[in-house]
């Protein structure tokens, strides 16, 4: 029995359906991210779990109990918002203590718990500051401490890093994950940033048009996308038009490759295959067994990575290669060979209507 379970969740605002048939089971202590473009319904699902929106259909269970009809204030769910939402009239200490005071704890209990939480986010020295005296990163850490202080059953994070600058975003992301592991709290995290979702989560739910397109571990999502949307949305992808050639082969750019046959399709059927930029190379690497001829269009040096744009089979293809001290930049206009392995070729399902 999973700790948080959503079954058959639907949500419409008037004639506009934003979430359709959403099912999800989250295990206790698991960190799950909702990833998707804006308007995909990820925040709406989170707000339904929090109790700020009521589902048009379906049930939400936390720890086995049906909370669908319970108001937000009685769900014992901690929430962190994109805009911090600290109470401006209260100090850091007052903010963290708020939920504990509501819960009716004694002053001694509150003081002890607040000190413990401020230790956790390493902001004990700022306990008497007010929100307007803190940086964005500090405010968001306080918001996290405030949400966790009353020992909620569930932690919900609504794009908590979006308003922060890049460096703080990475360090706070690591802090969130560390604290989540320390407390073992079941967590749902909403983001539109794929790197964030992939790096922080046990499992990722990729959402598209109100549905869960794919649910899986970060590696599964990236390496084995099951829908065309997931393949295109998560990571960069080079796509080729291909055609089923024989019983065991596909034709890509006039060349036939064996061992790539997608089951159940007859010869001549067009389909799309895809390759990640890092799966391609201009040099043959150990294990590379397939190649296509091409012509270098341009290349750029990005520090750890050399990125080349190569024309292959009439298409422009991105190639990422690790930089080495002895590496030379590919010369524009030079004919070349693009290498990859059979296993890296993703055969994409046809776009659903």
């Amino acid at each position: 029995m999973s700790f948080l379970s959503l079954s058959g969740i639907n949500k419409s605002f008037g004639a506009n359906t934003v979430v359709r048939d959403f099912d999800l089971a989250v295990e206790s202590g698991e960190f799950v991210s909702f990833l998707g473009p804006s308007g995909c319904g990820k925040t709406t699902v989170l707000r339904m779990i929090a109790g700020f929106e009521t589902p048009s259909g379906g049930t939400i269970r936390v720890g086995g109990a049906d909370v669908t009809a319970l108001p937000a204030s009685r769900r014992k769910i901690g929430m962190v918002f994109q805009a911090y939402a600290l109470f401006p009239n209260m100090s850091v200490r007052g903010n963290v203590a708020f939920g504990l005071r509501i819960a009716g704890m004694t002053r001694a209990q509150i003081d002890a718990r607040v000190a413990e939480m401020l230790d956790l986010i390493a902001l004990g020295h700022l306990a008497d500051r007010y929100p307007y005296q803190l940086s964005g990163g500090q405010q968001q850490r306080v918001a996290l401490a405030r949400a966790l202080a009353p020992r909620p059953n569930l932690l919900l994070l609504d794009e908590p890093l979006s308003a922060l600058d890049a460096q703080i975003r990475t360090s706070l992301r690591d802090d969130i994950r560390r604290i989540q592991r320390e407390l073992g709290i079941t967590t749902v995290f909403v983001t539109h940033d794929q790197e964030e979702a992939l790096s922080i989560s046990d499992r990722v739910v990729v959402m598209y048009k109100g549905r869960a397109d794919q649910i899986g571990t970060p590696a599964e999502i990236y390496n084995h996308p099951t829908t065309r949307f997931v393949a295109g949305f998560v990571g960069k992808l080079n796509t080729f038009d291909a055609r089923v050639a024989g019983t065991d082969s596909l034709a890509i750019g006039g060349q036939e490759f064996s061992g790539l046959r997608r089951a159940g399709l007859s010869a001549g059927v067009p389909l799309t295959v895809a390759l990640r930029p890092e799966a391609l190379s201009l040099h043959r690497r150990p294990g590379d067994d397939l190649s296509l001829p091409g012509r270098v269009q341009h290349s750029s040096f990005l520090g750890s990575v050399i990125r080349a744009q190569v024309e292959v089979a009439g298409q422009s293809v991105s190639i990422d290669m690790f930089n080495r001290a002895d590496a030379t930049l590919p010369v524009a206009g030079a004919p070349t060979e693009v290498w990859f392995t059979r296993d890296d070729v993703l055969v994409l399902p046809e776009a659903s209507a």
Binding site: A50, G51, F52, P71, A72, S73, R74, R75, K76, I77, G78, M79, F81, A83, A85, L86, F87, P88, N89, M90, S91, R93, G94, A97, F98, G99, I102, A103, D128, Y130, Y132, Q133, A143, R146, A147, P150, L156
Partner: protein, 275 residues
């Protein structure tokens, strides 16, 4: 690069200032001349020492404070609810809040007298208390445009919806959210609205006079008819009082949490918000 001060601008500013200051200075000067041949505060003394003055002033002050309390109780939850749940109704509510500026108080008070007069189901004007209630309600109506605007602006400055959700997710009921989160954060806006309400109600004449209440406004007018120097003294005192209200408003409005009312010293760092 040595630019000359813009002479024309200075002249215009001086003329503008004179427009307000000359009558004020003249009135002040006049108010000091009750005792022939010397400048003294005799007129002020005469006003302050009169029993009538104290009784009308305290009546008006109490009525104004009740109007503030009632106004806050009506306006704050309304503005909160409109912003939170009925944002599409805001233009309508804003328009309604302006009605007291459009409808003259004399129309308002005659409406009251007809509606709550002798032959009404609710004959408020038949008793002293009933008439006082009508007076306070009248003050509330007159102050709604200012109170609503002040409170609504105060709410615009903070993210009402998200703060409410944050408080709810921490277990707070709606009432507790309003009391502990919303109210303290728009306190300076409420205080501004309260001072405006106070200064409007204190000298209000039309409603007060037509309801025949023993309040400050009608007293001021009566004095003007009966005496020479005392009204000038009263006018100066009323003016000074309004200025004090404005200064207090400014102080409350610009104060940040955790700071002293007047910032002579660094922001205090002792724990404050928990009590």
């Amino acid at each position: 690069m040595n630019r000359r001060p813009p002479l024309l601008s200075i002249l215009i500013a001086l003329a503008g200032a004179a427009f307000f200051l000359v009558p004020l200075i003249a009135t002040f000067n006049f108010s000091l001349r009750m005792t022939r041949g010397e400048l003294s505060f005799a007129a002020y003394r005469s006003v302050i020492e009169s029993d009538k003055f104290l009784s009308v002033l305290s009546f008006s002050a109490v009525a104004s404070l009740m109007a503030i309390a009632l106004g806050v109780l009506i306006v704050v939850p309304t503005a909160y609810w409109v912003r939170l749940r009925l944002p599409h109704m805001r233009p309508l509510i804003e328009f309604l809040s302006l009605m007291p500026l459009i409808i003259p108080p004399v129309v308002l008070v005659f409406g009251y007298v007809r509606l709550y007069g002798t032959s009404s189901i609710l004959p408020l004007t038949m008793t002293e208390t009933g008439t006082n209630i009508l007076l306070v309600i009248g003050y509330v109506v007159l102050s709604v445009p200012y109170m609503y605007r002040a409170v609504d602006n105060g709410m615009a400055a903070i993210d009402i919806a998200t703060l409410t959700e944050a408080a709810e997710s921490l277990g707070a009921s709606r009432l507790r959210t309003i009391a502990f989160v919303i109210f303290p954060n728009i306190r300076s806006a409420i205080v501004s609205g309260a001072f405006l309400t106070f200064s409007i109600s204190l000298g209000e004449f039309v409603i007060t006079s037509l309801l025949n209440r023993p309040a400050f406004g009608p007293y001021l007018v009566q004095m003007g008819q009966d005496y020479a120097y005392q009204p000038a003294a009263l006018a100066i005192m009323a003016f000074a009082f309004t200025w004090v209200c404005m200064v207090l408003m400014e102080l409350f409005a610009t104060r940040k949490p955790g700071q002293r009312l007047l910032q002579w010293r660094a922001p205090r760092t002792v724990e404050k918000a928990k009590s």
